[in-house]
């Protein structure tokens, strides 16, 4: 069943249709929020907020755009708002990351401790590099690299032209290359 059809059913008061929408999209929305916030509790809370907003706006929802675009747009805005709140509260996610409280690392207990430490350090540097990008570039990178959206879909989510997306990704790639080049050199 298409999302638009499910939304019509939600509008008519069908709870099971809302559950189907949540089940279909919560994974992508949670991952998107996590990529911004790097803390599972925050990502889950913001992902919940996204679906609560959707539910509350069901009466006014018009299927002009794909539901995923609508959801991604809310998720991006709410995640960026949360980051701004954190900055206001002088709460630095990187510190949480350093303390290994918020982030799950790929290295498991089976990995050599040196390798795990090295991997963790690289992940922190990558997060720091992404965090340091301007909001527009960061959103373009997250949507393209991690959510695997097309340029056209990103343009819809970010409400801008495709050429603006191209420019943002171009600048982000140059910036990331500059900041992370030493990690690539280490691999050689």
């Amino acid at each position: 069943m298409q999302d638009a059809e499910l939304m019509e059913r939600v509008k008519a008061g069908d709870e099971s249709a809302f559950k189907m929408i949540v089940d279909r999209h919560h994974r992508a929305i949670y991952h998107l929020c996590y990529r911004y916030l790097e803390k599972r509790e925050d990502a889950e809370e913001v992902a919940q907020d996204v679906f609560i907003r959707l539910y509350r706006s069901v009466d006014t929802y018009q299927p002009f755009a794909k539901l995923t675009t609508f959801l991604y747009r809310i998720a991006v805005n709410l995640s960026l708002n949360r980051i701004r709140d954190r900055k206001r509260k002088r709460w630095i996610s990187l510190e949480m990351l350093r303390q290994n409280k918020g982030m799950e690392f790929e290295a498991s207990s089976r990995d050599h401790p040196d390798f795990a430490l090295e991997l963790k350090e690289k992940q922190i540097q990558i997060c720091r590099a992404i965090e340091s990008l301007p909001e527009n570039q960061k959103t373009a990178v997250i949507l393209y690299r991690f959510q695997e959206l097309s340029y056209e879909e990103i343009a819809e989510v970010m409400d801008c032209s495709v050429s603006a997306v191209e420019a943002r990704l171009h600048r982000a790639k140059l910036s990331l290359k500059k900041k992370l080049n030493h990690l690539v050199d280490d691999l050689k």
Binding site: A47, E166, K173, L176, K177
Partner: protein
């Protein structure tokens, strides 16, 4: 094609978003230019490096928790502005009353303490035999002294 043009378009080239002619031109330049080849390889390697970031595990029972939160939000309706105004007026009234009562209690205990001081050291028998006028004059004298000392 020169290096500057190549580098302006490297991102869309990397993402296969150029026309086939443009892609061919870029590929030809890449074959002939070692600097641009190095630049592109480094950029691709960094882009690839981003994949080492872990994907978090999904929280269990997402929908159940979402519904629980929605219901809790629904029950905990925010107060209207009238309710908020009445509530703040009541809090202010209670605080004001507390301050007034506290101030009155302080004055009363100070007066009681002063009266105790007035007859302190006098045996009960002597107090009982004092005339009413003596009470009044002692009382007046005591407070005149206390006031003068201040």
């Amino acid at each position: 094609m020169n290096c500057a043009t190549f580098r302006k378009q490297f991102s869309v080239f990397q993402d296969n978003r150029l026309s086939s002619d443009q892609m061919n031109d870029m590929a030809l330049h890449l074959q002939s230019c070692a600097d641009c080849r190095k630049f592109t390889e480094a950029s691709e390697a960094v882009w690839e490096l981003l994949t080492i970031l872990p994907k978090p595990k999904l929280p269990p029972f997402f929908y159940t928790r979402l519904k629980a939160r929605m219901e809790a939000d629904h029950q905990a309706k925010p107060l209207s502005w009238i309710q908020r105004a009445v509530l703040s007026a009541m809090v202010t009234a209670v605080l004001t009353l507390g301050i007034i009562l506290g101030s009155m209690a302080g004055r009363f205990s100070r007066a009681a303490k002063s009266e105790n001081d007035l007859f302190y050291g006098l045996p009960l028998e002597e107090i009982n035999v004092l005339s009413e006028s003596a009470y009044a004059s002692d009382y007046f004298e005591f407070f005149s002294q206390e006031g003068g000392a201040e």
